[in-house]
Amino acid sequence: MLDVSWAVRWVRLTAEAVGLAKAELTELDRRIGDGDHGENLDRGYRAVVERLDALDPEPENVGDVLKLIATTLMSKVGGASGPLYGTAYLRAAKATAVPSLDASAVVALVEGALDGVTARGKAVPGEKTMVDAWQAAADAAAAAAHEGASAEEVLRRASTAATAGAASTTSMVATKGRASYLGDRSAGSADPGATSTALILDAAVRAVGEGR
């Protein structure tokens, strides 16, 4: 069930995954950005877990957990990814002010995150940014829900699509963000933001399994 304890497990698994991938994310960012994505995101999620540990009682809605992530990332991450992820989680939180998510609420969560990233960063698909992962995830989630898939299945399809979306950024030439100053030299390496987006959604799926 995609309830509050799922959301809490999702946070912890994300923090763990980001910690493990810190060096990889930083290396991707060093190639085409300013080399701090792994460090910044790791600092942010560690702060999220600290705040979550200090919470008593547990939040009532999934959206409350996402809002805690949003405000923490905004104040701890800095750079471009702080506001981008902060706004993504904030919009996702607004769409999930319920104790547990059905299929359409999962779609609303992913679409909310996409809207947040797009509203803040003004990027569109194909510009080698995290939008490439979020857009793929939102499309796949909507299609799955339309076919009558369960909430868990919608989430799984969104995550698979985000991973493919992140991989697709490797061949792209960046036209947004600091990577854009490299022009053609930005091709050949995956976008760090799209890569971390895929990690986050993968953690959401693994959090379902852990609850069983």
Binding site: D34, G35, D36, N40, M74, S75, K76, V77, G78, G79, A80, G82, P83, L84, G86, T87, R120, G121, V173, T175, K176, G177, R178, S180, Y181, L182, G183
Partner: protein, 331 residues
Amino acid sequence: MKKLLNDPQNAVTESLEGFTAVHADLVELSLDPTYVTRAGGPVPNKVGLVSGGGSGHEPLHAGFVGDGMLDAAVPGEMFTSPTPDQIQPALEAADSGAGVLAIVKNYTGDVLNFEMAVELAGDDDHRVTTVLVNDDVAVEDSLYTAGRRGVAGTVAVEKIAGAAAARGDDLETVTAVAQRVADNVRTMGVALAPCTVPHVGRPGFELGDDEIEIGIGIHGEPGRRRAPVATADEITDQLLDPVVEDLGLTDGESVLLFVNGMGGTPLSELYVVYRRARSRLEGLGVSVSRSLVGNYVTSLEMQGASVSVLRLDDETTQLWDAPVRTAALHW
């Protein structure tokens, strides 16, 4: 890496503590969240001016807090933009009730974090306008990039808008003046040697003994092209020509010529650059009526310089001349 450092994680805070102790008559430091305000709080009925960005560019921005310039500055980590929870209280602390102008360099992180902070301050009934500075002509095609970066021209925007606020202009007028300066200033920079961010511990890029990087930003990020080292006059021409062309300067116009050091280049060399740039401009029939030379927008210990030209009119000239009393600029 050899630097005067204790724990690199504390470098920004320790530097700010020293800075505010030296200039206690001008500024006050707030910690947690970190921002610098004018000593004594906002001036009644005056529009507040706030700027900020990553640290490592000193004296930008805290060195420009004081009479006739900024009311608050928000320093982020080294080369990392400040966060909204730092920027929002700085905006609010600078608001005497007459509204606040945020001056933001066009770097994606700065733009996004300021945007969020301005929204949050707006929710609390503060009137905040924003002017983006994007003077760096090295970024050729804004259509395929995040746009031209905000670099040394920021000093001119902060000085002139600060003077407009000090003479009592309202928020709309101060914003329009700041925008006019941003629209009329262009910059191009060169690096002779890279810089090292303390907690990273290695240079941001590599340059051979006989190489220079033309068209750098202020974070040691790549520029327009790598070129062989040349004479000061030749390098100056490579910086000035695209600036003049982009501004579309014509015979009879009057300008401010600003030669800015990146932190590791001696003043004596900056004057050599100034000498050439001035004579080129005068050769075009352009009158260099105001000048500034020194290390104002630095990139840690980077060796290099930038050349900025601001097209002046009577009003912006007067505002440039108006009194200013800050740590880094005073007359």
